[in-house]
């Protein structure tokens, strides 16, 4: 169980990061698994092939991915709607192919193994319970940062962009730069999650960073609730834990999983964070009425 909670933590960082972009600024990305993968692979290759310290590799991975996203953001974020989805999708696929094809560097489809754990002095994060505290420390920091960001002037500016870019620009918001900055921040956080993943799993292969995972991340954010940091945590937790719980259905788990997702989007279009209280509220008055009459 501890092992799954480690993944809940990693996915929470990813969902929070994507929510800043998708939920607040209203810019879709179908390529976030690529940033996650870049973080993991840069960390992995630097430690395994070049013998660098894990923390330094993690720092380089996060910065490099952030800078890449910043540069990439200028042309890509000019696009809107479906076109933006297509461009980020394309980016995700390109990165996935690079992971697969550069066999000498990444180990190709069979993966990269022997990635060292993170450690401080004599403490090595080599067990599930230690990794649990490590990953959740990072998850809490990213939740805290994101909450602050969302409540700041920047958060309000992002929501303004979400509703109307023209109006936001009219109010003096530098729309273009802000979109790129939030894209870079989101990528940077995803890369941190990627590094954590690489150092806790000690093995990475391209299959974990494909298009499917990008879609899963978007699903986490939407199921949890767009524009709610706590919602992202709920979405990440649900989508990570659900497959474990549904293993009891054996061969039918995928069908049940799909059905639950459909039901949740049908009856809680605002996501878990709004849907669950909504359902509870709608139940309560009905009961009272029943008693009165």
């Amino acid at each position: 169980m501890m092992n799954v909670l480690v993944f809940v933590g990693i996915n929470t960082i990813l969902a929070v990061a994507l929510n800043l972009l998708l939920g607040y600024a209203g810019q879709i990305s179908l390529g976030h698994a690529a940033f996650f993968g870049l973080g993991a692979y840069i960390s992995g290759v630097l430690t395994v092939t070049y013998g660098l310290n894990s923390w330094i590799s993690m720092f380089i991975a996060a910065t490099a991915t952030g800078i890449l996203a910043f540069i990439l953001g200028f042309p890509i974020l000019k696009l809107k709607g479906h076109y933006l989805a297509m461009a980020t999708l394309g980016f995700g696929i390109i990165v996935y192919i690079v992971f697969n094809e550069t066999v000498a560097l990444t180990g190709g489809p069979s993966g990269l193994s022997g990635i060292p754990n993170l450690g401080i002095a004599s403490l090595t994060f080599d067990s599930d319970i230690k990794n649990y505290y490590l990953v959740w420390l990072f998850a809490l920091i990213s939740i805290f940062l994101s909450l602050n960001l969302a409540d700041s002037r920047i958060g309000r500016a992002l929501r303004a962009i979400h509703d109307s870019e023209v109006a936001a620009r009219g109010m003096g918001v530098n729309v273009r730069l802000l979109k790129v900055q939030i894209f870079a921040l989101s990528a940077l956080l995803s890369a941190v999650a990627g590094s954590l993943y690489a150092h806790t799993m000690t093995f990475i292969s391209p299959a974990s960073f494909g298009f499917n995972f990008s879609v899963e991340l978007v699903t986490m954010v939407i199921i949890g609730g767009l524009g709610s940091i706590y919602g992202s945590f709920l979405g990440a937790a649900l989508l990570t834990l659900l497959p474990e719980i549904l293993r009891a259905f054996q061969d039918y788990d995928i069908i049940v999983y799909g059905l639950l997702l459909i039901l949740m989007t049908m009856f809680m279009p605002g996501g878990l964070v709004r849907g669950v209280p909504g359902i509870l509220l709608s139940l309560r008055p009905a009961r009272k009425q029943g008693r009165e009459y």
């Binding site: 092992n3 697969n100 190709g108 489809p109 093995f203 474990e244 009891a248």
Partner: protein
């Protein structure tokens, strides 16, 4: 929410029933991880089917010294993250004594640190050479090394005095492992690779690569991939009128390949486990008995031909059965007993494990077969 509570309740009921049925005698729990869905399902599905079939049969014939076996299977979807989660669950919650699978090299490499630390024997059904080289105390495998398949093809080329070839490999773990071996061993056999191309697992037209090959001096083409890519290559080659002898990998050693490639499959030569040609093997062949019984059983249960990949799971379960019946169900003694396995006549070949060799098979694990008249014929 309501629906979720209800499904959870149903889930609990199902597990509860399963426990009641088996409560009679405490079963020996064996874990299995296969890529039943996802891109590697061509491996995982026959493996899962075979493993379940073999375990059912062992139980019907009285189990191992009266103890039933319980096979707990999880789907990895060919994704390392899921493989690790499922393996953790098998070890920590289901408390299995040994694990068979996973189906792919990537999944196997991902769970190796975990099984080594938890000291649970693992019999992988994946072929990657990295799995057992260097030898890891708790990790064994049943799939033949790709290097053996390559050696088999190269020996045949040498016999035909072919020295210049082109290779065309798929860009997934199966193809990249084959490509590596093809390149590494070429010099040893005096073979020169004139062109080295790849294609994507989902590509539908390989004419560009083949056109390039047509214009160079190659005397043969080796294609390394799994269905459906190689069938398309065979068809494209025929359309282009490419007259080179075409060699494929054991990745397509199933009837499905002949169905997909149709007439274009005629004359193609590939290395395969003996399972494909079980019925035409000479009676002196020591594996023949295992092979025939596997093919017959699989046909009976699943109305399909037992293939090469399902055979890996057959070998894994049977190796485990023989180790457990000799040494008991303690993971450490199972591991020790597996390492002592000698002359085990399986589906993939004749297994001889030792402390220095956890892959256990020699070059004779492969035979060369040729497609003739929509069926397989042995190449002498």
């Amino acid at each position: 929410m309501l629906s979720m509570t209800r499904t959870l309740f149903v889930a609990l009921l199902i597990t509860a029933q399963a426990t009641i049925v088996l409560a009679a005698a405490p079963p020996i729990k064996i874990g299995a991880l296969f890529a039943v869905t996802g891109p590697a399902s061509f491996l995982g599905e026959p493996e899962r089917n075979t493993a379940q079939m073999v375990v059912d049969e062992i139980n019907q014939s009285g189990g191992i010294k009266g103890r039933m076996l319980l096979l707990i299977t999880y789907d990895t979807q060919g994704d390392a993250t899921r493989a690790v989660q499922a393996a953790t669950r098998l070890i920590k919650e289901d408390k299995v004594v040994a694990i068979i699978g996973p189906s792919t090299t990537g999944d196997t490499m991902a769970i190796i640190p975990l099984v080594e630390k938890s000291q649970i024997p693992l019999i992988s059904c994946a072929a990657g050479i990295k799995i057992t080289e260097p030898v890891k105390p708790w990790v064994f495998k049943t799939a033949q090394n790709d290097s053996l398949a390559v050696a088999k093809i190269y020996e045949h080329l040498v016999k035909r005095k072919i020295t210049k070839i082109s290779i065309l490999t798929v860009s997934d773990s199966f193809g990249s492992s084959g490509r590596e071996q093809l390149k590494n061993q070429a010099a040893k056999y005096g073979i020169q690779i004139l062109s080295d191309d790849t294609y994507g697992p989902k590509d539908t037209d390989m004419t560009p690569q083949l056109t390039k090959i047509r214009t160079n001096q190659s005397q043969a083409l080796i294609c390394w991939g799994t269905n459906p890519g190689p069938a398309l290559i065979a068809r494209n080659a025929k359309q282009l009128g490419l007259k080179l002898p075409l060699y494929m990998s054991h990745g397509v050693s199933s009837k499905k390949f002949i169905d997909l490639a149709g007439d274009a499959a005629e004359g193609i030569i590939l290395p395969s486990g003996r399972v494909l040609v079980a019925d035409i093997l000479p009676n002196s062949d020591k594996q023949k008995k295992s092979l025939l019984s596997y093919v017959k059983d699989y046909q009976k249960h699943y109305k399909a031909e037992g293939d090469h990949f399902g055979g890996h799971a057959w070998d894994a379960v049977m190796l485990l059965k023989s180790a457990i019946s000799k040494s008991g169900e303690n993971p450490a003694s199972i591991r020790g007993q597996l390492e002592k396995t000698k002359n085990f006549y399986g589906i993939g070949g004749i297994f001889n494990y030792s402390p220095a060799d956890h892959s256990g098979l020699g070059k004779d694990a492969f035979v060369l077969v040729e497609v003739k008249g929509k069926d397989w014929k042995l190449v002498p």
